[in-house]
Symmetry: C2
């Protein structure tokens, strides 16, 4: 059994804790958080502390704090030469203080507090400077997920940007869809089957092969009609930018 | 049994034909298309023609031709006072020549040729000038779908714009996600679980309540890092436009 310490008590921390609780490969013997009242997810056999100097010896330390706090926290760890990993998509591995052996254990998913998560389907991206540590991280990943990958800091950084597009930006576009429907006294749910179809198609094929619509066709009449019809400046700006990008991709003249 | 004539032989036409073939409320007695060889989906008990003057008498005529051809085709119909409907999201009802009774029967979905479609889940948007025709269209909609709605031309036009956002634009953003992954020697499928989660959340809740990410947080450090990291001008432009829209929505200073 691998003994681990969890540093942090946010979404990723609590979901990792629960995922490994169901495994027989790793146990969290201790959880650290600045604020002890936030550690509400641990079972009675896990110690808790809010004092870094009280961290116990373990095989691996998972640093699951906010991106901007990772580096400073790893500096403050009162030990050396132990395996310390962070769990962030947007932060390079070498932000961790190299007085310890360093690595990354990044679950590629968006976590919502108090929502059940099935780790089996979540890609785990691992990275380490030393190959034995990397092997351990792969093994730990395989214990909770069916999709474990060696991913460099540069690649992980690219994933983080791509995730902003397919998660944050797509959700924002759904917001606009909802807004347009509501402005016209209709329910967003009328668009649900179209959204489902759009996404299932993109997951079953390459989205490159699926582009349709007025911009792809270069149908300027419809494009102008749509722009005039949009009620908010921001909706029009976004419609134009996205349309121009698609017009250009398909070798058509921009607006 | 309602007798119907189908005008057109594209995606929407063929899917409508197949959907009603399974109903016992409506039969297509005749299909018209300019090019007879494209009418490859009809059964032997349906007549075919490429001559508008040969159109037979029927209770309803479905005009399923391209948006730009709908008006001219309805002008050329060699009869009057019969129910003629088009099946388009982007075209107002009154584009149809009012020498006939006019209406709209719009299935809100993106159709891919030779792909099976379950009409039960597809919203059908109907409109008609006369209430008896409207009743018939609602009845026909209910025969193939569990989601039938009275929708005005203005509303339908808004749906069409919203559909460009949630279908065409979302697919384009998936393309960018795929591109970023491939530029960094990773497979788009690594993002599939995140995409699934993003969309399922947006369908189960209002997307308004789900926005996350650096723009929502006003995290300019991450935003700048992402923009510098993107390899193509178009990717950067789109990142900036979407980020500014989100920054503004959440009352933060724009880039």
């Amino acid at each position: 059994m691998i003994n681990a310490v969890l540093i942090g008590a946010g979404n990723v921390a609590s979901h990792l804790y629960l995922a490994f609780a169901q495994s027989d490969i790793l146990q969290f013997t201790q959880v650290y958080n600045r604020n002890l009242t936030h550690i509400d997810f641990v079972t009675s056999n896990t110690k808790v502390t809010n004092d870094l100097t009280e961290l116990e010896e373990a095989d691996i330390y998972f640093i699951c704090v906010s991106d901007s706090a990772i580096g400073a926290l790893s500096d403050k760890l009162p030990f050396t030469n132990r395996l310390t990993v962070h769990c962030s998509g947007g932060i390079a591995m070498d932000v961790l203080d190299n007085k310890n052996r360093i690595g990354v254990f990044y679950p590629l998913q968006t976590f919502i507090k108090n929502t059940d998560v099935d780790f089996k389907e979540i890609p785990i991206c691992v990275e380490a400077t030393n190959s034995k540590d990397e092997e351990l991280l792969l093994e730990l990943g395989n214990a909770i997920s069916e999709s474990v990958h060696k991913i460099s800091s540069t690649q992980r950084s690219a994933i983080h940007v791509a995730a902003v597009f397919v998660n944050n930006f797509v959700n924002y576009i759904f917001q606009i869809g909802e807004e347009i429907m509501e402005e016209n006294q209709m329910d967003f749910s009328l668009l649900h089957p179209l959204i489902n179809k759009t996404v299932q198609s993109a997951l079953n094929n390459s989205p490159k092969t699926l582009q349709t619509g007025p911009a792809k066709r270069g149908d300027k009449v419809t494009i102008e009609k749509h722009i005039n019809q949009l009620q908010k400046v921001e909706q029009r700006e976004l419609y134009k930018t996205l349309t121009n990008a698609i017009l250009q991709q398909y070798g058509r003249e921009k607006l």
